[in-house]
Symmetry: C2
C-alpha cells in the first residue's frame, strides 16, 4: 500500500483533483439554478391586485396583546398587507416617487415611519398632488419633505418606492383606494442590486432636479404665458 511519490507528483494529483472538484461544484450550481431547484436568495416577489380588504392593524401595533375589534377579516395575508409589511420594514429611509397618492392607509404607513425616525422623501406629480383626497398635504403638514415635478414633463408617472435604499417596490399601482381594491395591478418587490441601482439614481436625479431652491418663483405674467 506504500509507494514512492515525488513532491511534484503529489502537487499534480492535488491540483487535478481540486480543479475537477471545483468544476463539478460549479456545474452542479449552474444545473440546479437552470432546472429551478435552487433559488437566488435575493428577494424577488410579485404582488397582484385587487387585494381583498382585511384588517392590517397588527402591522402597526405588533406588540398589542388584545385583538382588534374591527369588522374586517383578521389573520389573512393579502397583497396589500404584504405591501404594507415591505414598507414598514424601513429602518433608515423611504424614498417615494409617486404619480398619485390618496390611499389613507398607505399615508398612515408613511407617517408612522416618519414618526419612527425614518427619513422620508417624496417626489410627486405637479397636477395630481392637488386633487381631492391627495395625501400630499397631510405628509407636508407632518414635516415630510415633498417635491413635485417642475420640468416640462406632462406627468411624473412613476410609482416606485425605495426602502432603506436597497429594496425596490415598483409596478403599475398608484397609491389610491381604487388601484388597491378595484383595479388589476401589479407590484414587484426586489433587492436585486442591478434593478435597484437605476431606480436609486433616477430618484436622486428627480430629487435634485426638483429642488425648489433651483427654481425661481414665476411672476404672474410668466405664469399666464
Amino acid at each position: 500500500m506504500f509507494r514512492q511519490v515525488s513532491f511534484k507528483e503529489l502537487m499534480k494529483m492535488f491540483g487535478v483533483g481540486a480543479v475537477a472538484l471545483v468544476l463539478g461544484v460549479e456545474w452542479l450550481d449552474w444545473l440546479t439554478r437552470r432546472l429551478g431547484f435552487r433559488r437566488d436568495s435575493r428577494l424577488k416577489e410579485v404582488l397582484f391586485f385587487p387585494s381583498p380588504q382585511t384588517c392590517v392593524e397588527h402591522l402597526f401595533t405588533p406588540d398589542r396583546s388584545f385583538p382588534c375589534a374591527c369588522p374586517l377579516p383578521h389573520g389573512t395575508e393579502t397583497s396589500f398587507s404584504r405591501l404594507l409589511g415591505h414598507l414598514l420594514s424601513a429602518c433608515v429611509s423611504l424614498d417615494l416617487c409617486l404619480f398619485s397618492f390618496s390611499h389613507v392607509e398607505l399615508s398612515r404607513v408613511v407617517l408612522h415611519l416618519h414618526n419612527r425616525g425614518v427619513t422620508v422623501r417624496v417626489v410627486t406629480d405637479r397636477d395630481y398632488m392637488a386633487i381631492i383626497g391627495s395625501q400630499i398635504g397631510t405628509l407636508r403638514r407632518a414635516g415630510i419633505c415633498v417635491r413635485h415635478e417642475m420640468s416640462t414633463a406632462v406627468h411624473m408617472h412613476h410609482k416606485f418606492a425605495l426602502v432603506d435604499g436597497r429594496k425596490l417596490i415598483t409596478g403599475s399601482l398608484n397609491w389610491t383606494l381604487t388601484a388597491v381594491q378595484s383595479n388589476k395591478e401589479n407590484v414587484m418587490v426586489t433587492e436585486e442590486p442591478e434593478l435597484v441601482r437605476p431606480y436609486q439614481k433616477e430618484f436622486q436625479k428627480l430629487w435634485e432636479a426638483n429642488d425648489p431652491a433651483n427654481h425661481k418663483p414665476q411672476t404672474k405674467k410668466q405664469a399666464a404665458k
Copy 2:
C-alpha cells in the same frame, strides 16, 4: 525531496486541499457578487422615459442597404429604441397586457411580429380600448386575438409584455405617445424566472377569465341596469 506517503494520507491531503479550494472559490464568488464586480448573466435592464425622438426604421428593416431619409436623428440608441428592440426579439409569442395602447410605432411592432408569424395575444382595458387613437381596432382588423377585461374590476391597469414567455417587460409606461415622449416613466426588462413566472400566470389567468365564450352576451335590459 522524497518521503513515504500512505494511500490514506494521500487521500486525506487530496480531500482537505479540494475542500479548501472549493470553499475559497465559493467565497470569492460570493464576494465578487456582493461587491458588484460580477453580474448575474440573466437580463436585467431598466429604461427611463421620456425618450428623445430618433429614427427607428433600421429596427424594422435591418437588411436595407440605403439609409433612411427621414429628418429624425439617426444612429442613436434611446430607451424607446431599446424597448422596440426587446419586443422585436420575439420569435414565437408576444403576450400583451395593456391598459391603454395608442402608440402607432408600438402598434407597428406588434403588426410586424404578427406578420412574421409570432403568436400575439392582447388583454386590454374595457373602457380604454375604445378611446380615440386606440390601436386595439387596428390589431383586431389584422387578425390579432384581443380580449378585454370582463370582470367587475374598475380598470385592467397592467402594462406588461411577455416576449417568447421568458422576457418580461413591465413598468409604469402606458403604450401612448405622451407616455413615451413626455412623461417620467420606467420600464424594467428581465429574464429572471422568479419574476417572469408570476406575470406568465397572471396573463394566462386573465386570458382565460376574459374568454368571450365564457361570457353570455347581455340583453338590453341587463345592460341598462
